[in-house]
């Protein structure tokens, strides 16, 4: 079917098989490979992107379901001048990533959290990241980073 998705502000249109998953549309059609696939069961969150501003797991969604809607991936998070998003800056400052594989999904989940709850407690951050697995960091610095980004954005 024909699918048109606004990805990071640009329209991406393609004829794709009906069963195409959104994550493959982003990676193979839009050519944006930051979004990773880490499991088969919607468990790990590596594929998290924003759909109309809210975090979703792009491996558990058909491209067709995103047709006509707006998606933001890690590549689209910085502003037009390349100024990094507060969450991106905080992940670096707090060493919130190691191998980087969970990072795109983790960052997008954090961005979604802060848009819904700009001033989360540590416990709220931990609970809000329950759908994103990281095997490297033990989450310690990821939580620090999300709290720091919230602080920087005036949440606290």
């Amino acid at each position: 079917m024909n699918v048109t998705v606004t990805v990071n502000g640009s329209q991406v249109e393609a004829e794709v098989p009906d069963r195409t998953l959104l994550v493959h549309f982003l990676r193979d059609v839009a050519g944006l490979t930051a979004t990773n696939i880490g499991c088969d069961t919607s468990s790990c969150g590596a594929c998290t992107v924003l759909l109309d501003g809210r975090s979703v797991k792009s491996c558990t969604m058909l491209a067709a379901q995103a047709d006509g809607r707006s998606v933001v991936t890690l590549e689209g998070l910085a502003d037009g001048d390349g100024e990094l998003h507060a969450v991106q800056r905080a992940f670096r400052a707090e060493h919130g990533l190691q191998c980087g594989f969970c990072t795109p999904g983790m960052v997008m989940a954090a961005v979604s959290l802060l848009s819904e709850n700009p001033d989360p407690s540590e416990a709220e951050v931990r609970t809000a990241l329950e759908g994103n697995l990281c095997r490297c960091t033990g989450y310690h610095n990821i939580v620090r980073a999300v709290l720091a980004a919230a602080g920087e954005r005036g949440g606290r």
Binding site: S43, G45, T60, A64, L113, E130, G131
Partner: protein, 272 residues
């Protein structure tokens, strides 16, 4: 992991959705948030030929105050339920339990109708609508009909919906008794409940204690007879037939049901 091939159709109205599914017969499925169906399709445990997308039908996404009851559109997401001020005030059990389903990403997509129609005994909301004594509205080629929540769950992943019928609305009377509680026992926050309990007033429903969500009838009648929470909770496993799996033996589930029902009843008492 990707689904086997199928044809995707997007319905522009409930009528059209019902028509489309009727046309393709048993091999067609409704697709709402997709968070129950797509994982099964990716593992090729479900292989529908046609998916009819109802996820974007505005006429299925609402939370309305109808005076004596609240009407919830079947395609309303868990996230919308959890953050609804109306539910927070009048049906806090539903709002709270919806906020415990899956993880934030799942709640942004998964819908109440999808969860009920999928009828996983380990899911949270089926037990919640039982405890709320909700009425479910289904529409099929022959028109609409109402099904009491108590009659809806028929077996493992099996409901009273006829082939081609679409769950459209959940109607929930505003509770007369304010006390409510929801207990979800998991290994990790993200896991499905090993056992769960939903309490609204004197109604008690259990998650994952049988092939379907079940009312804890013996607990309810003990409560009706004036039993204290701890006393009533001792009957929590009566009449249930929980499965055994990686996470629990039958005896452990029965024990958890007793502990969680007691805690839920005590919390409901405190909330009421």
């Amino acid at each position: 992991m990707i689904p086997a091939p199928f044809t995707y159709k997007r319905a522009s109205s409930v009528d059209e959705a019902v028509d489309l599914v009727a046309r393709d017969g048993e091999d067609a499925k409704f697709l709402a948030g997709g968070h129950s169906l797509l994982p099964l399709m990716k593992l090729r445990l479900a292989v529908p030929q046609t998916l009819v997308d109802i996820g974007r039908l505005g006429e299925l996404s609402y939370i309305r105050d109808e005076g004596d009851h609240i009407a919830v559109g079947a395609a309303t997401t868990h996230g919308e339920l959890a953050s609804s001020g109306l539910l927070g005030r009048d049906l806090p059990l539903l709002a709270h339990a919806a906020g415990q389903v899956g993880d934030p990403q799942v709640r942004h997509c998964g819908t109440i109708g999808g969860s009920l129609a999928h009828a996983d005994p380990a899911a949270d909301l089926p037990a919640v609508v039982l405890a709320l004594d909700a009425t479910l509205v289904a529409r099929g080629p022959a028109g609409s009909r109402e099904i009491a929540a108590a009659d809806f769950f028929r077996g493992l992943f099996e409901t009273a919906l006829e082939p081609g019928e679409l769950l459209t609305e959940i109607r929930i009377g505003k509770p007369a008794a304010p006390g409510w509680a929801f207990q979800k026992f998991t290994k990790r926050a993200i896991d499905w409940a090993i056992v769960g309990v939903a309490v609204q007033g004197g109604r008690v429903a259990l998650v994952n204690m049988d092939q379907t969500p079940v009312r804890a009838v013996a607990v309810e009648s003990a409560l009706a007879d004036g039993a204290a929470p701890a006393e009533a909770a001792a009957h929590a496993a009566a009449g249930t037939s929980p499965s055994e799996d990686l996470n629990a033996t039958r005896a452990y589930r029965e024990h958890l049901a007793r502990v969680l029902v007691r805690r839920a009843l005590e919390a409901a008492q405190a909330a009421g």
